[in-house]
């Protein structure tokens, strides 16, 4: 029983234990990670939240209602900016009408009124309409992404993705 032999044994002993348990823990963590990854499907069937809205030149100044029925979006061009405005009233979720003569959106349910820019100015609504992300594709077409919402009261209307310079 020499000391050197004992030391060697100890080192050997130590390393096997470490390797064994580290590997074991890592593998278990890996399996746990698998279960985690499993819970995120690779495809899902959420309704489409993006659409192509044609070329910037297609929009005259003012409010365009082409995408109101299909995607719930007003395309508003004002002062060289094009925005995609949600058509859900921020009061109780009714759908306001665009009144071209009065240049305002008016909710038929409780009378909330909004300017063309989406800012509220009358009625019970607590806050302006929401805007959606809008941007250009390389082919020059406008892409509107409804998953990203910009709210005025959060100061998000300054975000360059919330409007399009035209």
């Amino acid at each position: 029983m020499s000391d050197t032999k004992l030391a060697l044994n100890r080192r050997e002993f130590f390393s096997y234990v470490t390797v064994g348990w580290v590997m074991f823990s890592a593998a278990c963590a890996g399996l746990g990670a698998m279960a985690f990854r499993f819970s995120y499907p690779n495809v899902n069937f959420d309704p489409e939240m993006e659409f192509l809205a044609g070329l910037p030149g297609d929009f005259p100044s003012g409010v365009d209602e082409r995408f109101k029925a299909t995607f719930g979006v007003w395309m508003v061009k004002q002062e060289g900016k094009l925005i995609a405005l949600s058509n859900i009233c921020t009061h109780l979720g009714c759908i306001p009408n665009w009144l071209p003569a009065e240049l305002k959106f008016k909710c038929p349910c409780h009378g909330s009124g909004y300017y063309m820019s989406g800012i509220n100015f009358e009625g019970p609504t607590p806050r302006p309409l929401e805007r959606f992300k809008i941007g250009l594709q390389p082919d020059g077409k406008i892409k509107v992404d409804k998953t990203k919402v910009y709210r005025w009261e959060k100061g998000e209307w300054e975000n360059p993705d919330s409007f399009l310079n035209v």
């Binding site: 348990w21 074991f24 990854r37 390389p138 020059g140």
Partner: protein, 940 residues
Amino acid sequence: MSENNKEPGMAYNMSKLHKVMAILSFIFFVTTIWVFLDDYMRPWKGYQVEALKIQRRHLDAKIAEASKNIDANKLADMKARLAKGEEIVASRKEQITKAEKEKSAIAAKIKAQSIVNGILNGKVGASNFGFETAEAHHEVKAVEKNFKNLAELKVAFYKGKDDLKAYQAQLKEVENKIADLNKEVFDTQKEIKDITNILELLKMAHAQTDISPVFALRNLPFIDFMDPTIKIRQIVVNNLVDDRYFRQVPKVDRCITCHTFIDQPGFEKEVNPFKTHPRLDEMVGLESKHPMKQIGCTSCHGGEGHRVNDFTTVAHMPDSEKQEKEWIQKYSWKEPHHIPSPMLPKSQTEASCVKCHQGVELVPGATVLNEGISAMEKYGCFGCHKIEGKQHKRKVGPSLLKIAGKVNKEWFKSWVWEPRSFNKHTKMPAFFRQSNNSKPEFVKLNIAEVNAMAEYIYDKSKPYEPNEKYHGGNAEKGKELISQIGCLACHGVDGLEDQSNAVKAYTGPWLSGIGSKVSPDWLVSWIKKPWHYQEDTVMPSLRLTDPEAQDIAAYLLTLKNKSFEELKFSPLDKKDRDWLLADYLSAFDTNASAAAKVAKMDDREKTLDLGKRSIGKYGCFSCHNIEGFDGYAPIGPELTKEGSKPITQFGYGIQHDVGNTRGAWITAHLQNPRRWDIGIDKVFRDLQLMPNFYMSETEAKKITVAILGQVSDPIPLAGVKRYTAGEEVYNDGMKVAYKYGCVNCHKIDGLRGNILNMYLDDINQGPPRLVNEGHRVQANWMYHFFGNVQPIRPWLKVRMPSFNLSTEDKNRLVAGFQLGAKQPTVVEPAEFVKWLPGEREEAVKLFNAYNCVSCHAIGFTKETPLAPNLYKASERLRPSWIKLWLKNPQNILPGTSMPSFFGENGTEPSEPSYFGGSAEKQIDALAKYVVELGLKEGAK
């Protein structure tokens, strides 16, 4: 490791346990990594990376082009201007800082004011609610208090609002001021951006194709749940469904996962799967009639659209053996198993059009499919095989009700025995001398059957006496007439093979050996007035004069088939006949009593009975009118859902070289229907019956496409092509037009018009093409025209025939054209001719300036007319169409001899000196004038 190391109470050495633990853990660890990688490596990912590279290549090219388009000098100039502008702006620094400060001061005021306003807004709302509630509850005191309160609040509220507006105006002012101060820089920046915008966008797109560390990170195993760029792409088509055990599940197509650019133009030259779909304007494209997101992929192509991982399991099907070999090498392709409906090979894709486009004669644009449907019509497949939606098709063979007055019995038998020996072009298929009934004992029985059928048919035939006599004529002249007046639209004719092959007519028989078949008198009376012999014939009269009829008959009678004339058909063998009859009867009886029953019949009775049974057996009545077969069902299996029939239900016999797909079976079957009996020992009555049409492989393949489209897939109402009421009427009218072969001469809305192949040199010498014909002609005129055909284009040699149309058929045709073009029944031309002051005089001048009468000569000059009679225009044409026609005739009939006076867009008159050069006014005036001409004529 000595024994000494063991502690008491331990069965194993601890270090040994650790070693085992380490080894097992290592294996465990490796398997964990392995399983991640195994899950991660998916074949479609490779395609997407490849697609990324391709896109990058394309963007490179586009960027190069865009950079070229930017004028470098101009840009440099602008940049210089920008620098100068910056200098100018810098000199105003003080002013700008001041303005900025002002701006932030106003912004602070706005913020403060909006808080005040917000508080007031809330108070007004609440107070208003209190007031309203109080009033509703008639609490007078509270009402008063609230009202006063509310009034005060409202004053403050509106004042606050006004203040805010004032501040906002100030803010705008300051902002404008700042913008003004920065004008030089801002403007130039904007100009630069205008020029470089496209390039910038392209560069951004280009950056997205970088294979960068971020790209790698996003698509790393495990992390790729966050926001991968390489991912499965899919189209969910809610309008269309897949059938899953009695339930209709929305269709999910993931083909675009690999077919990345299928809907993007510009990738036509890439290899698959990166190719752009052909004809994007018609299919897949966003603006086409069949946009990808609404139709999906597998609705047309078939296959398993929801699978992505394996080239084979999505059920790609090769179109040729070459492709198959290529695929095996490239993708390890195997024949798909456990898949009820594999993809249609590329050449058969058009089959799917039929799924939705039902109730129409042909599908515009589906070339192969249309040819297949036409071929089925030609061979009369619909006679023996029921197909939903095709029951209206006429029997393709001639009526045999008066056959005794047309051909003699001997000729008849030889014809039935082997039609091709008389006319090698005939559509009549061969029932006898086939691969499965050529054994001598079968031939004997077949001879008995043919004899008996002939006896039966001639027994039932009514007498017929021709109403014309043949006096002899000039065969050469007859031949010329045949080639000119339009016979070739329906008939191929011996001696005119070139033209016949160009036209490929099939409505009537190819005329061959006529001289050996019918009597001259019969022939003359037939071509003069076909319905004298057969009331329901679709053969029209070409209004032949007597000499013309004699000439044509003379030519046709020169066509003889000497060898056929000499044939003598074996007489009826009574023993065979009796055996056959007994065989029929023994189906319900013992052989002995069947024989006894046969023995009880008299000789004639036996022959006729066998004749009738044989006709019923071979289904002759499906194509020919034969007395005694009313209400007999078609003898072939129904093909309405043939395209969904499980492949296991197709009988292959021992024909192992035929491919294991529906398409391959059908093609093989069409080429030789009796092949499935080869090598199989069958008794006489079990033999396959489908006759041999001697189809070419091409023809068989086209018919295969048409049949494969007959699937049972339920198409939800939301997904199927729905016709408007007008379109329905049009489709119905087209049924008549196709039945009588109108489409053999007239190309109707781009379809058919076979005879035009004879007039490739000058299309204006052929029958007119009909485009939106219901808009061109008046409904009334058309109806009367069918009843009394009057030549409109006297310079044409080809003639519009006179059809023996029923009133109903005429109405269907007229209504179809009219409603298909969405036109009213009556248009009052007089209503249209309302002149503005001075307009008519100028119109006359214009009419002369364009020299209309140089072609529309009739009634104006003695020249040979090259265009229709304008005096008839008001009666025949609709004014709105006249205008459309004048605007640009080439748009309607490309290649027409009518000049386009108003340029391609119909806006540039070639005589600008009239009506102030306004094309619109000129067209209007000319149309009015032309209509007025006819009105005057009518007055005369």
